[in-house]
Symmetry: C2
Subunit: 246 residues, 2 copies
């Protein structure tokens, strides 16, 4: 099907084909990235560059770099809720962040090569260490999944059936947006938490602290402080890349 829609020039389930490639993008689920490496290494030459698209970088980069020095960690922050070749979109990466996470050991030639390719897709390329990447995505990608799932769970656990049903009927765009990522693929959520556990827990501690501050304002009817906090979050919101201009 990939051949038929013109997404690839050649395709195979046989690793032999990899011997022709200068750069190999590993696009397996995150748990399969490291186990896949030893399977393909026999088919590629020393000069072949390997890169991955996993959403967590530190554990992947550490292991893959040891198995294959010519490895560049990557994380394209684009995608839809769909998957498989039928979900292919020509302009999927245009204007989207693509993070590369080279270490001191990563050959600069390999980084340069991967960057040239992903830049040609229209991506906004960022470089940072695997550790900083993981802490940043814990904030903007993994933490939202957990708090969003907690929102759905809490609503569903409302004890009074009539209130729960009205809440479900009344839910409009505000609820839909806040809860969307918590209603997504459970396997992906578990993988994020599993591979980025420490950074996620660190963000959760700070989040619980912030939540408590807001709850205290409401409990103590301290409306002035609540107003101040909500003014700060309103101002701060537009400082996040995808949140300005709306």
């Amino acid at each position: 099907m990939a051949l038929a829609i013109g997404a690839v020039d050649e395709a195979s389930v046989n690793y032999d084909l990899l011997s022709l490639a200068d750069v190999v993008f590993l696009c397996t689920p995150i748990s399969q990235i490291v186990p896949t490496l030893p399977k393909i290494c026999p088919y590629i030459s020393e000069r072949t560059i390997l890169t991955d698209v996993g959403s967590v970088k530190a554990p992947i980069v550490q292991e893959c770099s040891q198995l294959w020095p010519n490895f560049v960690g990557g994380h394209p922050m684009a995608g839809t809720a769909n998957w498989g070749i039928t979900a292919a979109e020509r302009d999927l990466f245009v204007g989207k962040v693509y993070v590369l996470t080279p270490t001191e050991m990563t050959p600069p030639r390999a980084v340069k090569k991967v960057e040239t390719i992903v830049r040609s897709l229209g991506s906004l390329v960022y470089h940072c260490s695997p550790e900083l990447h993981d802490r940043a995505v814990a904030w903007i990608s993994h933490l939202p999944v957990i708090i969003s799932a907690s929102l759905i769970r809490a609503c569903l656990q409302e004890g009074e059936a009539e209130v729960r049903q009205l809440a479900q009927e009344f839910a409009s765009s505000g609820f839909r947006d806040t809860s969307r990522v918590g209603g997504g693929n459970p396997e992906l959520g578990v993988m994020m938490a599993r591979y980025n556990r420490q950074a996620l827990l660190r963000s959760l501690v700070q989040y619980c602290h912030s939540l408590e501050e807001l709850i205290n304002c409401i409990e103590q009817e301290n409306w002035e402080s609540l107003q101040e906090i909500l003014s700060q979050t309103q101002q701060g919101w537009s400082g996040f890349r995808s949140c300005d201009g709306e």
Copy 2:
């Protein structure tokens, strides 16, 4: 301007004009609904129906019904981030929920009349008690504001400047959606919390409990339970009116 764009047939800042109206919609900020009533009562007849559009109902309905027996509480769940006459949209209410909250004391004729008007706008009309309304909207409207604002606040309080900056750069649609309502109008957020304090605090207790369950799974690396919870939230999500079919 309202006259010029054809939104109204007559307009005035003088309460005299109200004497012509069969039904008066009070569209002030929530804190001004009750104080406005005594000001307009001298200009209207006993048969005039008053209704409001406040997003919290129990305290409003209780006070307004005492001041004006021919009062029907209402809450149209539609709107944009814009306000004023320039934000007027002909089809704003089409397919949107419009809740009416009559009590045992509300004259059925008044309810019927308001319902006929709002139904003619294309709204989906619901009836429930002011108290059930407030508990339901605490879940789907007020709780999301607090957890969403806590998310923004927590991110902005990340102590390491480089991580904070990367998080702001990497933020994409997942973060934007989860944080959107927490980055909105602070006055509106305070009013929601103030007028619906008890129902909101009740929802917050349950939310903290759900959040704790998820944190425990991550802390204890209980991935099976986390998977089960996220599968439940995925299934449950589509049970909310605006969340299905996406």
